[in-house]
Symmetry: C2
Subunit: 454 residues, 2 copies
Amino acid sequence: MVNFELTREYIDNLQAFIEAKDENAVSALLEELHPADIAEIYEELSIDEAKFVYFLMDDETAADVITELEEDDRKKFLDSLPSDVIAKRFIDKMDSDDAADVIGELDDQRQQEVLSAIDDVSTAGDIADLLAYDEDTAGGLMAKELIKVKESWGVPTCLRSMRRQAEEIDEVYYVYVVDSDGILKGTLSLKRMLLSPVDVLVKDIYNSDVISVKVDVDAEDVSNIMDKYDLVALPVVDSVGRLVGRITIDDVVDVIREEAEKDYQLASGITEDVEASDSVWQHTRARIPWLLIGMFGGILASRVTSGHLDLIEQFPALSLFMALIAAMGGNVGMQSSAIVVQSLASGSIGLETNWRKLLKEMGIALLNASILSLLIFSYNKIIGEDIALTVTVTAAMFSVVVFASLFGTFIPLLLNKIKVDPALATGPFVTTMNDIIGMFLYLTIGNIIFAMMA
Amino acid sequence: MVNFELTREYIDNLQAFIEAKDENAVSALLEELHPADIAEIYEELSIDEAKFVYFLMDDETAADVITELEEDDRKKFLDSLPSDVIAKRFIDKMDSDDAADVIGELDDQRQQEVLSAIDDVSTAGDIADLLAYDEDTAGGLMAKELIKVKESWGVPTCLRSMRRQAEEIDEVYYVYVVDSDGILKGTLSLKRMLLSPVDVLVKDIYNSDVISVKVDVDAEDVSNIMDKYDLVALPVVDSVGRLVGRITIDDVVDVIREEAEKDYQLASGITEDVEASDSVWQHTRARIPWLLIGMFGGILASRVTSGHLDLIEQFPALSLFMALIAAMGGNVGMQSSAIVVQSLASGSIGLETNWRKLLKEMGIALLNASILSLLIFSYNKIIGEDIALTVTVTAAMFSVVVFASLFGTFIPLLLNKIKVDPALATGPFVTTMNDIIGMFLYLTIGNIIFAMMA
């Protein structure tokens, strides 16, 4: 099977066949495709076209396609279907974690309808259990499907039970070992199963070095643990240590991607999760909040400037470097805050205390400030700029770089301490604050220098 | 085993024991730890302390610790050891992909020394093969260790061969099926092995829907494919389709993290991969290039302003909104470029042509520009600002938002087209360019308006 590449032509063809209600041609086009590819195609179709395609797929494929859809598209599609169709065609065929995610996106009444339309009570119960967890915790990420064996079993009992349990599960990564109370004791690796003689007990061959998390552990911590220890699956236990589920690496890859995208978007001043393919209105809604904050900051900077307008009236050349000083404050602050946010996110913050971090940032800031102010001083000397302006720009450059560095380091550390996402402090927030501070420093220094020298 | 949390106290204790050369106490402290935890500890120790600890570990653990170290720390540590110790204590115990990564970091002469010190010629050959691939391709990510069976085999032959092959491999995710020429035909899932009767042939039960990549596929594409199709392992084939290796999800998680971190850092104006724990000098080196570019941009903006200094002399109030207009250009440009860069990176760019994207961005830009210029107009009316200045600021706001949006969308698309990393276009580059353009638009519009109205 070759990796499928979606083209405009393919969609045009497909839509023509759907238009003509040519079921055979549509089926033929979709036949070889992976559900993830069909989901990509779905995103280009109208609801009615998607429904036509959906009736041609078997239940298993249809369920996988639904799981792979983007949240918005899925919601729109499911809203057009009756609750019992959702329950019987999709939910029954999904892993419990995917089923809980899909049902969790519906509104409360529909959730109840779908849950009560599920035939198998234990499946419905599993999903209801999972719905109770916050989606950003280990409980929200885990699936109920796993293979467990008792430590007291012999290998033959074990193999029989595993065969039965394996029928429900897509991929088997680990076999979990529990005691008679259901407390997680360890794992039995499949490699070990392949290599062991048949006459030993589980308790003699299992590996007790198992890393697990409690249901309420944060999703970001789960991803850091799985990444650090290179785990493919991570068992989840309740508050007394009973095994209640497992998290697989593919769910965590999604968490990692989403966290990285969110941080990147926040750093770029985008407040909602948008994709290039979203509508003009969605884009505007995601972008306007930070632009308004930026404008508010710019207006404050203009108030600061306005307080020194007499100085500018006397020495209009001061206006030459206003944009430079404001921009340098923004750039320096963005760099400093990005370093802090990234090290907080990856958990690689190290053992340095916050005071040591600020001290080190002070060192970096002084070095950068010295280089940059020396350069701007030389530039001004070379073009033969007025000496008062030269001194003002040089001193303002030095102080804005130092101040913006410390500010950019301090704010995310503070937000993290008071449990606010430090990524909020990056991008437009830091640049806007530093614009205002830059104007203030530049004009205050200008006032002093020009009073002394001019 | 509980997730280990590194503390200052723990390190102080450990260092005291190392100082006292108390081998038993050091071993006791490290005994229960995962190699990834020991690697974290290593990063806090001096080379001599690390060497002391290293002699107390068994070969397997020592090799795992080396694999888990950060590149810089690993290089420093390995540089202090003779080549044959590296070959015999570490390389022999590593998976071929990790071994190739570690050896690839050494300089050429040391690579040769280590390779020729490896006892097993076929291991050395595998590593030499892997060293030939670019590290950002499927070949650079893959390991040679995998389990393969021939399609003509019966299940008993298959099981015997798998038992033998499994001894060398940490975790078995898939069993690959090849024909007599070694061409990849499909996979045999472990679940299928658990459920199958013993008297069938491999060719009757294997799954031929296998997704594979060629050795020269880009690492980012590999991660997108594994993510899209939720794969735990991905087979790699050569140009004629022979199975040559497999990539596991943990390596791809690292690629995803690194790509996301790189994009985030570029967007924040940081040019080298730095961590919070790196030295002041490393930080300065990573930050100064963009600050210099930003300063150069600011100087250009001052030249633009200087060309209109007579206007500012006449109407000093124009200086009030210089920082605002420059900042808005920067913010808008950053948002627009971030959307493009992110959709290019995740491969979710959709089917829209570049022209359609620019057209849509134009729609978003016009909407944002209308809202923002209406607000700044109202603000100026409310505070009773001079009418010429009000019109200038309003018109400049409108044009800078539109222009910066298009510019922020166009540049990364252009870079992508000419095969330059579009992430380079974000952050300081776009903000700096837009500062200059903002000044230019503001003062040009000011000249026209004030000539007409004042």
